[in-house]
Symmetry: C2
Subunit: 338 residues, 2 copies
């Protein structure tokens, strides 16, 4: 394959850094690599497998000649800049939520709905990290039995909020120290304000994202709407709850699912075990620590629903920076380039 | 009220210690207080509001004269010793799971099904901590509308595993230190074995309790069976998932609920706001840190179900050592003594 000019936009963020290393790890035929970020980072350099690259100011960068642009620079910058990159001939793979529900924009989970990637008009959207992890296990089940209903409850890591999320968790656990008696009695002191509205150190925040409608957060509505779009099934019923937990990397989802017909655990296990990009664990439960730093999403605890029989409850966990973001973006680039 | 001879059995554990302080805080008319534990702790003393008390060896302790015995010494000791305490005339309030599903034994959440406490034959069971917290908010909704279905997913703190749980979490976070790069890349080293099968530090264990049947854990089946018994409704359908999170104290539950009739968020909010022992938070989300060290269970994020309309999804969190264990046990003792 000849070399492909690629830009990583938002190159200094947690996902941008992961995009650069993913391009290298997967031997994507990059040439040249251009890195872009906000004015604040412009002019600094990053050491990459393709040599030292100076970061360009996104606002002034000329996209001419680019074939692929991996965007992870936030919704506002994607809204503003993705169209001009696409008009200049690049295929934009956008990690923000800005374009995901646009009917002209495919929303692609590689290995689940690859076919959709071919129908783009210059922009392809990378799904929400939680939805992506869940769909790696759910996609094969849907393909066989037709998902009708699910109740999905998340355990999302702080790296989903970028490097500030990680720093906040470390600072707050340090703030509380070893004084578990204060935590037990409620005599703890509020730590300095971090990236979240409330402390995440030794705590759980039962609201991830911004409250937007009827008490639901944007994260929760993404889980509903993106699942329907990716699986091309607008009638799927979803009850979502998105929760932040004091974990560094990887998002977990506990889910109960029902289909157009009864689905046994044996059949669901076979489907997930045979699917690419997802591992079925049966001897022990997969945890966020197990999923971090690997490409595969891990599924486990498959069991029959017991309240409303005929469905399957399970757990799935995946690296939100890899499959949940950078890896899938690079996989989409591979689909486009192939 | 005249003084009531009380024993705390399992006095050296996390829940036992909390039982002693709860008796004091609620001015239970204790007299005298006897403390019992395993042979290992026998002979040591504990400073209490009723003076220094020497711990008796449970295996040799004579229950004669006791009116109330609060047991939190594990299922095996409850199975062995609760009957002989009851036969000697004490009312045993047992925090283990040993007697909960026995048809002769009432299972009581104070402020939810107080009436059941009167029907005892010497033993009254204190429900599972997660079920207890959930039912404080769910009980009033059931009373008004009749619960039919729920999907409940827990976020359980390590103190649910006693003081060893807390020590394990502290040790493991200390083991991983500040090396978030290792956590990001998966290059972390397994910490020394703690109280759980896998690390809980910076991690989530999507299996709380022991796997017992069809892939479900004992914790999960408690959520099903105890809910049905407490609400006296064997037909309630429950999909349970119990998960351990790296939090010191307080268990949270994310739940979607449906009833015999449509229940609006407005009505559900009024019902919870009016119920004793539970606070409805509407201005911010209640977290485990907020619930720790207080008697009230906290509910929030009430919102209409959006997949299958007509129900209510919400979040509830409560101190597993207080309402989830010691407080409810003492409240049952108050019901018995009144």
């Amino acid at each position: 394959m000849s070399e492909i000019p690629v830009a990583v936009v938002g190159a200094t963020g947690a996902v941008g850094r992961e995009m650069i290393s993913t391009l290298e790890r997967r031997k994507f035929p990059v040439g040249p690599l251009r890195l872009m970020a906000s004015e604040r980072s412009a002019g600094t350099t990053i050491e990459t497998a393709w040599g030292e690259v100076t970061i360009e100011n996104l606002g002034e960068a000329d996209p001419t000649g680019l074939e692929i642009a991996l965007f992870s620079a936030g919704g506002a910058r994607s809204t503003e800049h993705a169209p001009r990159f696409a008009e200049a001939g690049a295929v934009v793979v956008d990690n923000s939520s800005a374009w995901r529900m646009d009917p002209r924009v495919p929303l692609v989970v590689a290995d689940v709905n690859d076919h959709a990637a071919t129908e783009h008009e210059g922009i392809i959207a990378n799904p929400n990290c939680t939805t992506m992890v869940l769909l790696m296990a759910l996609g094969p089940l849907h393909g066989a039995a037709g998902l009708t209903d699910m109740v999905a409850t998340s355990y999302q890591s702080v790296s989903g909020s970028g490097q500030q999320g990680i720093a906040t968790l470390l600072d707050e656990v340090d703030h509380f120290g070893q004084d578990t008696e204060a935590l037990r009695t409620g005599a703890w002191e509020e730590p300095p304000q971090g990236v979240y509205a409330r402390p995440i150190g030794w705590n759980v925040l039962p609201l991830a994202g911004r409250a937007v409608s009827d008490g639901y957060t944007d994260e929760e509505l993404k889980l509903v709407n993106e699942t329907r779009k990716i699986l091309d099934s607008p009638g799927i019923k979803v009850e979502p709850t998105c929760v932040r937990v004091p974990v560094m990397v990887s998002h977990g989802i506990a889910v109960s699912t029902w289909f157009e017909r009864d689905l046994s655990v044996a059949e669901a296990s076979e489907l997930i075990a045979a699917a690419p990009g997802v591992e079925l664990w049966t001897d022990k439960v997969p945890t966020p620590l197990d999923a971090s730093g690997i490409d595969e999403v891990l599924a486990g605890r498959l069991r029959p629903t017991i309240g409303r029989p005929g469905g399957v409850s399970f757990w799935v966990v995946g690296d939100n920076l890899r499959k949940g973001a950078a890896l899938n973006a690079v996989q989409i680039a591979e689909l486009v380039a192939s």
